[in-house]
Subunit: 373 residues, 2 copies
């Protein structure tokens, strides 16, 4: 998800990264190095040396692989998405920024090839995803410390595994942690076609919640509406439609929402608040409009509306790895039951990353770019 404004520098990465050796910080004697023309090339990675336009600063480089230490895991990456937060991190506009140079990508799924002698949690053949952001997933292979990885079932679709660790987790936690919702209750969200938005629609439907999904108007709005309704959306309205009195008709059939999920900010957030039931909560997890939240004083006072924020990285800091694992397994249950699918994806081979980066930054993107290795 995209987030504007102030940036907090990453204090500690998820775990030591051994696949890429940045300017400093590699441990042990077998540190790797990267070069534009290693011979023979063993690992390829999308690397950026400074923040800026991803199309300009990201380069495909050959790297040497670090030796596998006792607590390390050698992983062959299978697929890794390009998320808005990856783009923002490269641009330098994100709450976590890695030391440079860095390998791009914070999500993805890999298969374990080999493990160090002290590794007990995973074995060759297992599928793993990053336990935290900052790992650098846009590469063919890497050696990570065991604690930087978390196992996922290998019987779920590859695209689901590659996109499991951020957006569906964010969607589920926002639905569960702010209001005590019951089946039949409603939820309103904007940016409903985003990765989080699509996960919200599906998970909410699986929980018996009715979603009101706000999207930007566009030429193929009916196609988008149909697609979101196929996912389980109860209502799909445009930002403009949200401001029309006809919205009241929706609430003849379903209750006013006690939860609003805001990834846009600006006017869109003002309108989401207007739709909330008294005592309801708006949770902000992104600011795609690059504008602040604008909230009516009288609604906050007289309707007791609450404004909160959600950031999965903070949730993970505040919870144990076992709790994160439990969250992932809950989501895999939805996947196994056919209730949660990956967002519409376009798989692009790693070497065609320029095309994938450009496609991911176009407005009205309806297809997530997934790099395959």
């Amino acid at each position: 998800m995209w987030v504007c404004g102030a940036v907090f520098r990453l204090r500690a990465l998820a775990g030591p990264r051994k696949g890429l050796c940045p300017a400093s910080g590699c441990r042990g004697p077998a540190a790797a190095s990267y070069s534009a023309s290693a011979d023979p090339p063993r690992v390829r990675a999308l690397v950026y040396g400074h923040h800026g336009d991803p199309a300009k600063v990201v380069e495909l480089k050959n790297m040497e692989l670090a030796a596998v230490g006792g607590s390390d895991v050698h992983v062959k990456m299978l697929a890794a998405p390009i998320n808005p937060s990856d783009i923002n991190m490269i641009q330098g506009n994100y709450g976590l920024l890695p030391e440079l140079p860095a390998v791009g990508g914070n999500e993805g799924v890999g298969q374990v090839i080999a493990v160090g002698s002290n590794v007990t949690g995973v074995k060759p053949g297992d599928w793993v995803i990053p336990a935290n952001p900052g790992l650098g997933t846009w590469r063919t292979e890497a050696v990570f410390s065991e604690e930087a990885l978390i196992e996922v079932p290998s019987d779920i679709p590859l695209q689901s595994a590659a996109t499991l660790g951020v957006n569906p987790c964010t969607a589920y936690r926002m639905l569960m942690d702010f209001e005590q919702l019951q089946p039949g209750d409603s939820v309103i969200q904007n940016a409903s076609n985003s990765g989080v938005g699509q996960a919200v629609i599906q998970i909410a439907a699986a929980l018996g919640l009715k979603t009101i999904n706000v999207v930007r108007d566009r030429p193929d709005i009916q196609k988008l509406t149909d697609r979101l309704k196929n996912l389980g959306a109860e209502h799909v309205v445009t930002e403009e439609g949200l401001r029309k009195p006809e919205m009241k008709n929706i609430f003849k059939a379903i209750p006013q929402p006690r939860l609003a999920l805001n990834c846009v900010g600006g006017k869109s957030s003002t309108e989401l608040l207007r739709q909330l039931a008294p005592g309801g909560t708006m949770v902000t997890y992104g600011g795609m409009a690059k504008q602040p939240i604008i909230a009516s004083v009288s609604l906050i006072i007289f309707k007791d509306l609450k404004l909160r924020g959600f950031w999965l990285s903070q949730w993970k800091k505040d919870h144990s790895l076992d709790q994160f694992r439990e969250l992932l397994l809950t989501l895999c249950d939805f996947i196994h039951r056919g209730q949660l699918t990956a967002p519409a994806c376009s798989e692009v081979p790693l070497q065609d990353y320029q095309r994938a980066l450009e496609a991911s930054m176009k407005p009205f993107v309806s297809s997530k770019q997934i790099l395959t290795m």
Copy 2:
């Protein structure tokens, strides 16, 4: 406190009002009536028949007094303040609006003259204040139902009793109900010279909390600063000063606030949020700037800031009369210990109400107008 924007019509008044008979709704055979020239005049009251500029729509009228029914209390009003919320209610810009015509004023203290045969809670000589807004306190005498009144100790200063039921209650609840503060913690607020603001300074100081008090710049700023510091303010800064880097110096001596109290909105609210410690809460209870709250998306997400609202009327709906009585007694303890005084007041006889109304609506009012009967 002043509140802009949407208005919710009062569903039920605090209790039947017998002193003034509006267009309908009086019970019993002894309903009162009002006229511009009753003969002989027994009761005088400040009445408005429609919403508008208080200086134009409020009139001093003579009224007849209702008979005292079994559950009624005959009260001689002693003193009643002119609060911003009274002005907004007359203007029609408030969350509760009485049926018209109505007697102005929502706060004040009166002395019981006589009680009906079923009244057990108060006796002649007792001091009483309204249990809820909407009672109409700007009058010399009235007959109220017992349930519309609440007793207060008669050994506190008259001005304290007349201003006890709204602002200090709001200040105390906001300090207690949103963040678990400990002695040494800090609180930041704007509109610090308001009735609530002055109560916040004093109650916070009594609780060992350090207040950072934001005020609008003005010619006599040093005089105001001295006055607020005499009340217990730790720091007094102007709105402009709040935006200067020197603010950081304050936080070398005291911790960043986990609680911000916002009665202004607009840019002032944006700045209050910037000063909050991670995880902190901004509670909005007014919107003097007549502008919405503008909140940085990244602060809400990455610093987990929370935005809430507080409205004493809602708190009272959600709590019992005994809980309100307990709150008043807690505040009276502060008063008895010399830790809570009434805001600077100017006492004005009821017949000079025009002067008092005008003074209460001037910018930079540093003295609360109190009507005496």
